[in-house]
């Protein structure tokens, strides 16, 4: 009952109410995992609304902030046992390519993939080709996402795909690219499998590649 209220408050951006309900639940001795679960359920709703273009960046940012605040309240009350982990739908290694330090677009994509149950390994910004290769070797992802905002990213992405190829890993991963100057033609030039216009497109691609809808 209260859990649903919490989900509703977060999903509908009622920040103060959400935090108050979370506090009340925790004070009343509700399992902190239930509180965190509510947060994740709300995020899934936020993600869906974002994909339907009912929500935009402000809602994603605020949902993230509320979730963080609630997690901070819940964490001290968690004793030992961990919540049941769901199996991720797939693994994604993501980063902004070397020379480029733009992070917001890439973070939104990472966030949306996580909301959609992907395990995301975010390498950050200014990521050299070798870092991508190392991480792919290490975690064996199905998908690699490269982000870039500057024109230099075209050749840097191409070089990164080349490095993945040389490491013998190209057949093991699907590669998606995104960022302001990118398009379908850029994906061909770079040797990526696809271009995604926004985070919703990234989720769609990832779902296709991992055998879903």
């Amino acid at each position: 009952m209260t859990k649903e209220k919490l989900v509703d408050a977060i999903a509908n951006m009622r920040d103060q109410e959400a935090i108050q309900i979370a506090k009340q639940m925790l004070d009343a001795g509700v399992d902190p995992h239930v509180v965190l679960e509510a947060g994740h359920e709300a995020m899934a709703i936020v993600g869906e609304r974002y994909e339907r273009k009912e929500y935009y960046l402000p809602e994603l940012v605020v949902a993230g902030e509320i979730l963080k605040e609630i997690a901070e309240l819940a964490k001290p009350k968690i004793r030992g046992e961990t919540a049941a982990q769901t199996t991720p739908r797939g693994k994604v290694v993501i980063g902004t390519v070397e020379g480029d330090i733009h992070d917001i677009g890439k973070e939104i994509v990472a966030f949306m993939l996580e909301v959609n149950n992907y395990q995301v390994f975010d390498l950050g910004v200014d990521v050299p080709a070798e870092r991508f290769v190392e991480k792919i070797r290490e975690v064996n992802p199905e998908i690699v996402g490269m982000s870039g905002f500057l024109t230099l990213a075209f050749d840097q992405m191409r070089l990164t795909v080349e490095a993945i190829k040389e490491a013998g890993l190209r057949d093991k991963v699907k590669i998606m690219i995104g960022g302001a100057p990118m398009d379908e033609e850029a994906a061909k030039y770079i040797g990526a499998d696809a271009y995604g216009e926004d985070a919703a497109a990234a989720v769609k691609l990832a779902n296709q590649w991992t055998g879903g809808n």
């Binding site: 951006m13 920040d15 273009k53 009912e54 929500y55 935009y56 960046l57 402000p58 809602e59 994603l60 940012v61 605020v62 902030e65 020379g99 480029d100 330090i101 733009h102 992070d103 917001i104 500057l150 024109t151 230099l152 075209f154 050749d155 302001a180 100057p181 990118m182 398009d183 033609e185 850029a186 030039y189 926004d198």
Partner: protein
Amino acid sequence: MEKSPEELYQERVKRVLDACTGKVPDRVPIMGPYELFVYNYAGVTIKEAMNDYALARRACHKFLDDFQPDADFGPVLAYPAKPMEFLGVKWFKWAGHGLGDNIMYQFTEGEYMKAEEYDEFIYDPSHFMATKWLPRSFKALEGFAGFPPMRLMMWFGWTGLLTAFANPEMQQALQNAIEAGKQLSEWFASLGQYTQEIKQKGFPLAYGAFSWPPFDIIGDTLRGTRGIMSDMIRRPDKLLKALEITTQLCIEYGSAAAGADLPLTWIWMHKGSEGFMSDEQYATFYWPFLKRAIEGLVERGCIVVIYCEGNDTPRLKYFVDVPKGKVVYHFATMDMAKAKEMLHGIAAISGNVPNRLLLTGTPDDVKAYCKWLIDTVGKDGGYIMDTSALLDEAKPENVKAMFEFTREYGVYR
């Protein structure tokens, strides 16, 4: 008979002004703000251009001589490395300062105004800038944290307040500001020299002033993107009040263009594009303030160039609501045919040649794209040929194709 530089200058000014103000010029003008490309073309790295002003001017001259744009930006976009390094700018990375020698400078996101500081900013923006923003932005100006509130100096207020300047940290910050001012004067002298030099060659300067939309003034270096996005939902009233202030700042930044031969105020739009916010949010937080700033600048005698950097097709229905013949919209991603249909007779259009095409395409690809733009958007005037975004890496032969083709095919008969 060959035209004199003076005649060419007047011809170029008229061509650009005609295109900007909805008249049919003799041909489609071509110009734009280019960054790295200009220097790479001349065999100079951006690091060299930012450090050696004379070298930057030489590179810009080479570009100007070889490409002959109808108006020129010159070295203004190669920011001066020496004073930036001296000041220790914290929200920027540039070649030799966190980035490789030939990589364009980039902005580092952060909160340079905290959520709880809106009231302080709204009450006295200058005092907030002095005591919070400057120390957070520049290592060398940290001592300004103790800058006294000038608004309290009257009557005998100064007696206590001036003691702030006895503080050694304050004195150091003031010394640093003096030194930075001297260094920056050298840069501005170089820019001024360049403007004179190109005028003698027959080329007008493409900008009179730079400004930023009221929303982006807060969203770029004050609250940051994440901060302002959150504020739209969590502190809308404070944000709206602050936007009233930054609307005035936007006009102040841009007004200097008035009186220039090309009185163009370039407003760099970062955050209003599709994807950032909903239509309703745009109508609440973005457009009303930008519209008022545009009107204020036009009233002061400026022509406003709104430099859109994203996909702005959904914003067209707002863009039509501006003073006629006084605004140019530069588009990156846009349904250009629709833009022409909606804006013709109201505002001029520029841009949209994809930077990707200029890097990975062929001269024929570029010509085909430019032909389509001239036929579609250039019809009956009101169009300026330009790239989609500030031009960095590109093949010179593709850029040449864009210029030459526009000069040949873009003639109005």
